[in-house]
């Protein structure tokens, strides 16, 4: 039997071509994914991939016998080379290389080749299709018209990544760090400084390949320059850190969007990291992806317990730590920090919100999935058990918002108001739109300069004396973000303080669309 060199291509037919012989060196332009499989060069006939464990494969054994008599047929058995018993020659496909190379997803799969090129492919059993393709009008006469196939062993969970690793066409470029057999990989990770202080998932090649399956973007694509080391960051590096953070592959597009957002100049990630203040990139997710990947926008939304919420924000922070080199005591100069610096991510509760979402306010459509980054400090609780009309509740919220950064500092620090369903109910029941609420809130947050200049109320801190005769707004235009989140019970909301250097001179909140 001659060896064939197969070139994998996209899913279009022909899927690949037999284009050479065993001497790989004779093909100067061989691509990395060209491989050797024991199929005759210029093969004309059929290849069938089956497994004993599939009832359809067992059912159509008579059809294989008929086809074997009438045409050139190779049968490759994924789980038992003795199956089908009534066929003389069955290829042992337990290594699953052929299945991997030919992108077999279902068994049985029947592929027709003409002079080494795939010309047609059938999956499962549909008698009329098999008869037409094989030109055997009586094929499978005693068999049912139709029987669906089963999943190929090559696409069982986690298997595809193992096969990609085994058959050598891994796209991964990162440096490999060997772990001694007696060494504890978790301790190695701590010793190397890759962890934020909590255990991480060891980033093996197999896990990283699985993570990369969460995006269509190529692993080598540079997604941004990560501060503080200004290190170019590839999709692959993000995947490694997302694995470590504990992300699932379906979270990966959100992580990528968060990293892209953090690299935007206006977000000023370097400053957010380097400040002595409490700031950290807070990730707010909007759009359909939040529900799709199981993010929490309800109970304990700003707390622990949901894997997506907990790991997406952590992945971003690990990218900054590991790729960017930003570590506490190094360029991270936070005096106190806050727990959200491990990772802070949540989804807006959109399905029953009375107001347009944060992302819609920021110019995106409701069916777009987005990530907004806000350079924020910790969570400041707001509680009001008595306000039942919107005017009172707005003034009450303003009282808490006024304390952001400092009660006498105005226009310097942004804030994110996370309004709970019970608080929003007051506005819904009275028909207050978000715009009306914003206008009323702004009014309640505007004061005479004399109240907040330095020295007023016997406090040295405050605004410059020359502003004493001005009316001052607590927040700069665009400096107050509002999102709806939390569980249905509880008259609480949350104020998340922005970075002391908010706005164009420091960090501006950014929103980016999540790509697949």
């Amino acid at each position: 039997m001659l060896g064939g060199v197969f070139q994998s291509t996209e899913l279009a037919t022909p899927r690949f071509a037999v284009c050479g012989d065993r001497v790989l060196e004779s093909h100067a332009s061989l691509a990395k994914d060209e491989i050797m499989i024991d199929i005759p060069k210029d093969f004309t006939g059929f290849i069938a991939v089956v497994k004993r464990d599939c009832s359809t494969c067992r059912l159509i054994e008579p059809a294989f016998r008929e086809l074997k008599r009438g045409a050139s047929l190779q049968i490759h058995s994924q789980d038992d080379p003795a199956f089908p018993e009534t066929i003389d020659e069955v290829f042992d496909e337990r290594r699953l290389e052929l299945s991997y190379r030919l992108d077999i997803e279902i068994v049985p799969t029947l592929i027709q080749f003409q002079k080494g090129e795939e010309t047609a492919r059938l999956v499962g059993w549909r008698r009329k299709d098999w008869r037409r393709l094989t030109s055997l009008p009586m094929l499978g006469a005693g068999l049912p018209e139709f029987s669906p196939g089963c999943g190929s062993k090559s696409v069982e969970p986690g298997r595809r990544e193992k096969l990609a690793f085994t058959f050598g066409d891994t796209p991964l470029q990162a440096r490999r760090i060997d772990v001694a057999s007696q060494q504890d990989e978790h301790e190695l990770i701590f010793e190397r400084g890759w962890s934020d202080g909590l255990p991480v998932v060891p980033p093996t090649e197999e896990r990283v390949l699985r993570m990369l399956a969460g995006t269509t973007r190529p692993p080598a694509e540079v997604i941004g320059i990560i501060p503080p080391d200004h290190a170019p960051c590839t999709i692959e590096k993000v995947a490694i850190n997302a694995v470590m953070a504990g992300c699932k592959p379906e979270y990966f597009p959100v992580v990528l969007a968060a990293v892209e957002a953090a690299c935007l100049d206006e977000f000023c990630m370097h400053g957010v990291l380097a400040t002595t203040y409490f700031a950290a990139p807070i990730v707010i997710v909007n759009g359909p992806i939040a529900e799709k990947i199981g993010m929490n926008s309800g109970h304990n939304v700003l707390g622990q317990g949901n894997r997506a919420n907990s790991t997406i924000g952590r992945a971003l922070q690990l990218v900054i730590r590991n790729v960017g080199g930003g570590k506490p005591g190094g360029v991270d100069r936070a005096t106190l920090g806050q727990p959200g610096k491990v990772g802070f991510c949540f989804a807006e509760r959109e399905h029953d919100s009375y107001w347009e979402s944060l992302a819609v306010e920021r110019g995106f459509s409701a069916d777009q999935s987005t990530v907004t980054l806000f350079a924020g400090g910790g969570v400041h609780p707001f509680g009001d058990q008595k306000s039942r009309d919107p005017e009172s509740l707005t003034r009450s919220l303003a009282m808490t918002l006024r304390t952001v950064y400092h009660g006498k500092i105005y226009g310097r620090t942004d804030a994110l108001l996370v309004i709970s369903p019970e608080n929003m109910r007051v506005f819904r029941e009275t028909g207050w739109t978000k715009a009306r609420f914003r206008a009323a809130l702004d009014q309640a947050l505007t004061v005479d300069g004399t109240e907040v200049v330095a020295g007023a109320a016997g406090i040295d801190e405050g605004m410059p004396a020359q502003l004493a005769r001005k009316r001052l707004s607590k927040f700069r235009p665009g400096g107050l973000l509002i999102a709806h989140a939390g569980s249905g019970a509880g008259m609480w909301s949350a104020v998340i303080t922005g970075w002391a250097a908010s706005g164009p001179r420091g960090s501006v909140p950014v929103t980016v669309a999540i790509k697949s």
Partner: protein, 91 residues
Amino acid sequence: MPALLDPTSELQPAQREALPRPPSLSEKRVALLDISKPRGDVFLDHLEARLGEMGVDARRYIKPTFTRVAPADLKHQIASECDVAIEALAD
């Protein structure tokens, strides 16, 4: 355990920097590493004898071949069992 992929920018060397030389070998466990080059053993035999006379705890290790870096297991073993390593590098 399969190898791990480096999550960093790889601006730093994969191996950690060597510790500063200790001012004295007193109370130190010393690894004598033969890298499998000819006559490395002769040199290390001599060193071992001298260290023994000084009362220093010296232990012998050997790399499978001088052409490749030491296996991770061997490096880990030396790091766990010794404070100082002396290699016989060239013949």
